[in-house]
């Protein structure tokens, strides 16, 4: 048997070993290696990292970093605000929010919180600063302007004005 053939059989045996190890070690090792690459899910989906949290008594508003679309990605720039816990929200929320943290109000957000979590939500956003776009009775038409309930939070994405 030639050296090449011996190497071939060795590699074939190692492949069989890899098959046996896959459910016990190999798969998890690859998964951990991939997770360690430091990749993150696109912010158009995740909403971007949280910048700060504003306490509002029984609930709080988390303000995320503004998200800007890449290249030809559909949607507009937006900023995500999370009201949580949803269970502590009043029946009607009407909050003035300082989004950029400069001490001045930027938007007024109004929405109802139905008791049934499956009821579709609608939101009105009145811009108090030209940086933000108005939203009128909007639901979840797209990733960059919406109101949805995710777990125990109500998420509002307010589009940034194009300028």
């Amino acid at each position: 048997m030639t050296l090449r053939a011996k190497l071939g059989y060795t590699a074939a045996a190692l492949t069989m070993l890899a098959a046996l190890l896959t459910p016990f070690r190999l798969m998890d090792s690859f998964a951990k290696g991939f997770a360690a690459l430091g990749l993150h899910v696109d912010e158009m989906y995740s909403g971007g990292p949280k910048l700060r949290t504003v306490a509002m008594g029984p609930y709080s508003i988390a303000v995320h970093k503004p998200v800007f679309p890449h290249m030809l990605q559909s949607g507009n720039p937006f900023v995500q605000l999370d009201w949580s816990p949803a269970s502590a929200l009043p029946q009607h929320v009407s909050d003035v929010v300082d989004v950029d943290g400069d001490g001045r109000p930027d938007i007024r957000v109004d929405f109802d919180v139905p008791k049934d979590p499956k009821t579709p939500l609608r939101v009105n956003v009145e811009p108090l600063n030209r940086r933000y776009e108005a939203m009128q009775n909007e639901g979840k038409e797209g990733f960059s302007r919406l109101i949805v309930r995710v777990d125990n939070a109500v998420l509002v994405r307010v589009p940034l004005a194009n300028r």
Partner: protein
């Protein structure tokens, strides 16, 4: 070359004895029990019945492979079961969790979209350039998270190469089942240039995914969205997307396989299949044509469900890069010229040894991955029957 014609061959000219076939099947029987009954699997009666039936099914098919010396027919039984039972279990779980097969925007934002391996080639360039994954899932939060599925795909690819498309893909079985229905193909002459289309689709989808920053194939072209989870039609765009999914599924997965007896979606469209072909270069197992025996009759070429043999490749004793090691050509060849082969070894030197080594590795993966999917599908059916 003449000496090769006299080399000993281990391929069983007649079926193996039952006892010998049983002995060869024993490791797979133990593996099936280990994979399907390990701690952590559900212990209710319906789950146990589904797991037991699956273990018997997978072990029985391997026994028949050992007993008859044939591969393709028995592998196809598994693969078709996988293809048809995957949507059953998947849709049941989706409807149970969300109440619908559609993906609501809330689930995407929450990162709860189950990750599908078809998206892998689309993620690579955006991830390399921006460290961003253009998929609405989570990286490591759950069993269906991106890291888990990528880890599984890497391990299976290391073992199987393009064999993924014949032993692991949970979509290909539907069209393989459809292709098995007619006795004869209505369309026999297929222009070989169609083989290039998956590469064109792959290139286009990779570039589009980078430009649009979304998994373009999943959003616009995946035929299997029709039987798994589709985009919720919130507007006209969503309606168009879903219409495309249904038309492609009906055409490429149902109608064309019935007319051609080929896996048409895999052969002429699937960008993941094209991407997976690259890994045949690093896979140690392959199928070769022994030129000393080949009479160039073309039977293997007709038998290949994936158009992975051409006159030119047969003349060179090779399969094309897209060969998924299903064994159709090996089983069909009247001269035993199509053989399983381990790279580095002489062609046709103990091909049954190469076949056994490949099948142990491939079937172990099939039981681990496909077996659990089949068990889930059977459980769902039992659940509804009860």
């Amino acid at each position: 070359m003449a000496s090769k014609a006299c080399t000993p061959r281990l391929a069983p000219a007649t079926p193996r004895s039952v006892l010998r076939a049983l002995l060869l099947t024993l490791p797979i029987a133990v593996w099936s029990l280990l994979m399907l009954f390990h701690p952590g699997t559900p212990t209710d009666a319906k789950s146990r019945i589904a797991e037991a039936v699956t273990a018997l099914f997978m072990t029985g098919l391997f026994f028949m492979m050992m007993r008859t010396g044939k591969t393709y027919r028995w592998r196809r039984c598994f693969f078709v079961a996988l293809g048809f039972l995957f949507p059953v279990g998947f849709i049941y779980n989706m409807v149970l969790a969300r109440g619908t097969m559609g993906i609501p925007i809330e689930e995407m934002i929450a990162g709860r979209t189950p990750f599908c391996f078809l998206a892998i080639p689309l993620l690579i360039v955006p991830a390399a350039l921006t460290k961003t994954l253009v998929f609405p899932g989570s990286i490591a939060a759950s069993r269906h998270a991106i890291a888990t599925m990528v880890g599984l795909w890497l391990a299976l690819t290391l073992v199987l190469g393009k064999g993924w498309c014949a032993y692991a893909c949970f979509f290909g079985g539907i069209e393989e089942g459809m292709a098995a229905v007619p006795k004869r193909a209505k369309i026999r002459k297929i222009d070989p240039r169609w083989r290039l289309v998956p590469w064109a689709v792959l290139l286009a989808m990779v570039l589009l995914s980078l430009a649009l920053f979304e998994p373009a194939y999943c959003m616009w072209l995946c035929p299997f969205k029709a039987v798994t989870e589709y985009v919720t039609a919130r507007n006209a765009v969503g309606v168009v997307q879903n219409a495309i999914f249904i038309v492609l599924f009906a055409g490429l997965v149902i109608v064309l396989p019935l007319l051609t007896k080929k896996r048409t979606q895999c052969s002429f469209f699937c960008p993941f299949g094209a991407f997976q072909s690259i890994f045949n270069k690093i896979s140690i197992f392959e199928v070769k044509i022994d030129r000393t025996r080949c009479k160039s009759c073309g039977v293997c070429q007709n038998a290949c469900p994936n158009l992975s043999l051409s006159k030119e490749s047969i003349a060179q004793g090779e399969t094309l890069l897209s060969c998924m090691k299903c064994g159709a050509c090996v089983d069909a060849c009247p001269q035993d010229a199509a053989v399983w082969h381990i790279k580095g070894t002489e062609i046709a030197w103990k091909p049954e040894r190469a076949r056994l080594m490949f099948l142990y590795a491939a079937w172990a993966m099939a039981v681990m991955f496909g077996g659990s999917i089949i068990a889930q599908g059977l459980f769902t059916i039992l659940h509804f029957l009860a």
